[in-house]
């Protein structure tokens, strides 16, 4: 490793490589429940060329390499399961181009979500990107590549669906452009070419290191509002979601269900965020949304909350800081969640399962669901907080997560950004020919098996 360290120093400079115990400690773990795995080295490249050199070095030396964005995935995907080099991508954080007319932005993969949001607010206030609810340090690259979702996902799908193109360093060191940018100076999309972006989406860094991405931007309308529709029968929710998404005026539709505070227990709250260019348009959208749910309003089994201003302000934030505060519920700085991607018709089943699991694992919980597209599916999340200083509490949360992954798969959902054990469960359920294809692709792209090994593998 000493030799590799020296070569890394040559590539990035001494200030941006570490083999020290302190870095190895911190980069061995993320804020979730997964056990730590120490890297041998941590390196922070600033350019694609530096990434390329690092990858070539890793290939030569057959050393595992794990790209890391914000490190906030919570399911431990940036832990180096087999040691090696962790590539902290966050120095690659330049915003390279904003195309206002065609509404896209080209960024380096380590660009923080918050910084892109701030940059657009300042320089292109008429545009915004779909902001996930992870803390603002989460990176554009990290979130897109795990099929993240956010505040525009009802309007436009998973964040991976908002991807226009990539620049990738392959495991064998080639720098490749994916999408229209491979053939044109514009990064307008992945069509009409064979879509190679799929080789890198959802693969957890096992097929290459993305260094640049272009993502779609959307109108940032000046007037915003949120309605929170409340029911107490989860069986109604799929139809509620189906109706409201059918109107196609909202930007984000996200449900939340939590046992605390007391008044929230047993109720399903559906946040419907929408925006407009004028107050009249805003009122019009509000009315369209409400009209879509008239059946339930008339029957008095559902209705929109009258939101006190501070609560409304919180729901209009992007990202919502209150979600992160869930980590301190057990006074212990931790939470992790299973995000089950599943059709919206499974809502009631998922909701009940979440309560049952929390009850018999004796753990606190919170659940919710972000709708993707026009109710094409949802990311149903089961979140469990834990006290990091109490190993028994961590274990309870871990067991709840394990059981949740199983239950999600059993009901026909698929855990999103699954931690290594859950990946194995997914593989078990997967069509063997699909998994075989994944392995063949990896074999071609990463013949040395250096890219984030231990992920998407069976024992």
């Amino acid at each position: 490793m000493e030799e590799i360290y020296k070569e890394l120093v040559e590539i990035v400079g001494a200030g941006y490589v570490s083999n020290q115990p302190e870095e190895r400690f911190i980069y061995s773990r993320d804020p979730g429940t997964m056990e730590p795995h120490e890297p041998d080295l941590v390196v922070m490249p600033a350019t694609t060329e530096e990434v390329q050199k690092i990858v070539l070095l890793a290939n030569r030396k057959r050393v595992p390499i794990v790209p890391m964005g914000g490190g906030l995935v919570l399911s431990g995907l940036s832990r180096p399961l087999k040691g090696g080099i962790v590539l902290d991508m966050k120095r690659m954080n330049r915003i390279l181009e904003v195309n206002e007319t065609s509404r896209y932005v080209l960024v380096e993969a380590g660009t923080a979500q918050g910084m892109l949001q701030a940059y657009l607010k300042k320089n292109h206030p008429g545009l915004k990107h779909s902001m996930p609810d992870s803390p603002p340090m989460a990176t554009i690259g990290g979130n897109v590549l795990i099929h993240g979702s956010g505040h525009l996902s009802h309007a436009a799908g998973f964040h991976s669906e908002m991807l226009n193109g990539l620049e990738v360093v392959l495991p064998t060191g080639e720098i490749v452009k994916i999408g229209s940018c491979s053939t044109s100076p514009y990064w307008f999309g992945r069509a009409p070419l064979p879509d190679l972006a799929g080789l890198f989406l959802g693969w957890f860094g096992t097929t290459g290191i993305v260094t640049k991405l272009a993502i779609k931007l959307f109108p940032n309308r000046p007037y915003q509002d949120v309605g929170v529709f409340v029911t107490e029968d989860p069986e109604l929710v799929p139809d509620v979601l189906h109706r409201v998404t059918g109107v196609q005026v909202a930007e984000d539709v996200t449900a939340w269900m939590t046992p605390r505070p007391d008044w929230a227990r047993g109720f399903q709250h559906i946040n419907i965020n929408y925006a407009a260019d004028t107050p009249e348009e805003l009122t019009g959208k509000r009315n369209l949304i409400r009209a879509s749910l008239q059946k339930y309003i008339r029957e008095k089994v559902g209705g929109f909350m009258v939101l006190p201003p501070p609560m409304k302000k919180g729901f209009l934030e992007a990202p919502q800081t209150t979600l992160v505060q869930f980590a301190d519920v057990r006074k212990g700085g931790g939470f992790e969640y299973v995000g089950g991607i599943m059709p919206i018709e499974l809502f009631a089943r998922a909701y009940r399962a979440g309560i049952e699991i929390a009850e018999h694992q004796r753990t606190t919980y919170s659940t919710g669901a972000r709708v993707i597209g026009l109710g094409h599916c949802m990311m149903f999340f089961f979140a469990y907080p834990f006290n990091r200083a109490d190993e028994a509490d961590v274990e309870r949360a871990r067991k709840a997560l394990e059981e949740t992954n199983r239950v999600v798969l059993d009901m026909g959902g698929i855990p999103w950004k699954a931690e290594a054990p859950a990946q194995k469960q997914i593989i078990q359920k997967m069509d063997p020919k699909t998994f075989d294809l994944m392995n063949r692709i990896r074999g071609v792209l990463d013949p040395q098996g250096i890219m984030n090994p231990g992920n998407w593998e069976v024992e």
Binding site: F25, I26, Y27, V42, A118, T321, G333, R388
Partner: protein
């Protein structure tokens, strides 16, 4: 270790790395070094791991812990209301542990030794403290309304001296009744406190309190926000409750007199909030009131201002220990680039540490033709520093 109970509650979410508007990184040490270990969350986790024996004592660990500039951005931005106020207390407590174990970076050791032996970090004799006011005919304190307290940087540092002189002249010109202690002034101890040397700080604080009480001092005007902070917030713990003002607050009270002064040619100015005046003591208005009162100035704000201000890197002892180092990614250089982007010709400061850090950074960035660092009193005086 005090505050150990909060260390595990940190989620390492990273809100502490940013200002409230996310426009750029806002933690000086993380911005410089970029390893997660140098972020507030990294420090919290490392301190806990150190106390648990998972991470061993080392010079690098000490460097990480002592590189915090104590700017308070993490306290301001942390989204966990139940322990955010104790984040810096935890870092300082960690430093205390290291001081007690004798595992501090050499620069920290040297600083603390200089204070202990010489009573100042410059290793100069106490008599040198009177030199800053030569030729100004300032009165020694004897029952005037205020004691004007300049501190070590104001008394010994070349740049600090310029600022101290400008402030003293201005206070005199607008008729503020004050006296000084000259050679009999002692270090306020704020940096010793921030570096975890509780004992030295307490000794300095108690000595100062005795001196002030003996002289009948009731009100103090502090040149440096660091002294202002220590006297206001920490001296009362040692039964030293005095009314203390930062000099910009006194100037703000006299804004009308300032507005009558002769205007200079119109200039654009941007103000750098010192951490120990702004975030730590929530005083954002007085300096601005003074600048807005002075004819001919057009004020513009940087992207990171007020509670979002980016620290110059001169706090937490770093002004003396230089653990944040230089280089284009140093906080001070990043800050002056930000200031220059506003189009301002003047970067106004209200702290001698900031004045020195930012002025050196302007030179390092070759921005001398574009922007000048001036303290508020220097701007109003209008003359050469």
């Amino acid at each position: 270790m005090e505050y150990a109970a909060i260390l595990h509650r940190c989620f390492r979410c990273g809100y502490c790395k940013f200002p409230g508007n996310y426009i750029d990184l806002n933690c000086p040490s993380y911005s410089k070094f970029r390893f997660e270990t140098y972020s507030p969350g990294g420090r919290m986790w490392l301190l806990r791991a150190w106390l648990n024996g998972e991470v061993q004592t080392s010079s690098r660990l000490a460097e990480i812990i002592f590189s915090c500039a104590t700017c308070g951005n993490c306290v301001e931005q942390c989204v966990f209301p139940k322990f955010k106020d104790d984040i810096l207390h935890a870092f300082i407590a960690g430093r205390e542990e290291m001081v007690n174990k004798g595992v501090v970076p050499p620069a920290v050791r040297d600083y603390l030794k200089a204070i202990q032996v010489h009573g100042n970090p410059y290793k100069l004799s106490a008599g040198e403290r009177r030199k800053w006011q030569e030729g100004l005919n300032l009165e020694t304190y004897s029952d005037q309304e205020y004691l004007f307290y300049v501190g070590c940087v104001g008394a010994f540092d070349e740049r600090g001296i310029k600022m101290a002189r400008a402030v003293a002249i201005l206070l005199k010109n607008i008729g503020v009744s004050f006296g000084i202690l000259g050679a009999e002034e002692n270090c306020d101890g704020n940096e010793a406190r921030a570096l975890g040397e509780k004992g030295i700080f307490q000794s300095l604080a108690e000595q100062n309190i005795r001196d002030f009480q003996r002289r009948g001092v009731k009100r103090i005007i502090a040149l440096s926000p660091h002294a202002f902070h220590a006297i206001k917030n920490d001296y009362p713990k040692f039964a030293g409750s005095l009314e203390v003002f930062h000099y910009t607050q006194i100037l703000a009270m006299q804004a009308k007199k300032i507005s009558l002064r002769q205007a200079q040619a119109p200039r654009r100015v941007t103000f750098h909030d010192p951490c120990y005046l702004g975030r730590h003591n929530k005083e954002y208005q007085s300096p601005r009131r003074v600048l807005k009162a002075f004819p001919g100035l057009e004020m513009v704000e940087m992207n990171r201002s007020k509670e979002n201000a980016f620290c110059c890197g001169g706090g937490g002892g770093n002004f003396f220990t230089d653990l944040l180092g230089s280089g284009p990614e140093s906080p001070a250089r990043s800050r002056v680039r930000e200031a220059a982007e506003t189009g301002a010709a003047i970067l106004a400061v209200a702290c001698p540490n900031c004045a020195k850090m930012l002025e050196d950074a302007v030179k390092a960035e070759n921005l001398e033709e574009k922007i000048a660092v001036k303290d508020i009193a220097e701007i109003i005086q209008g003359g050469q520093i």
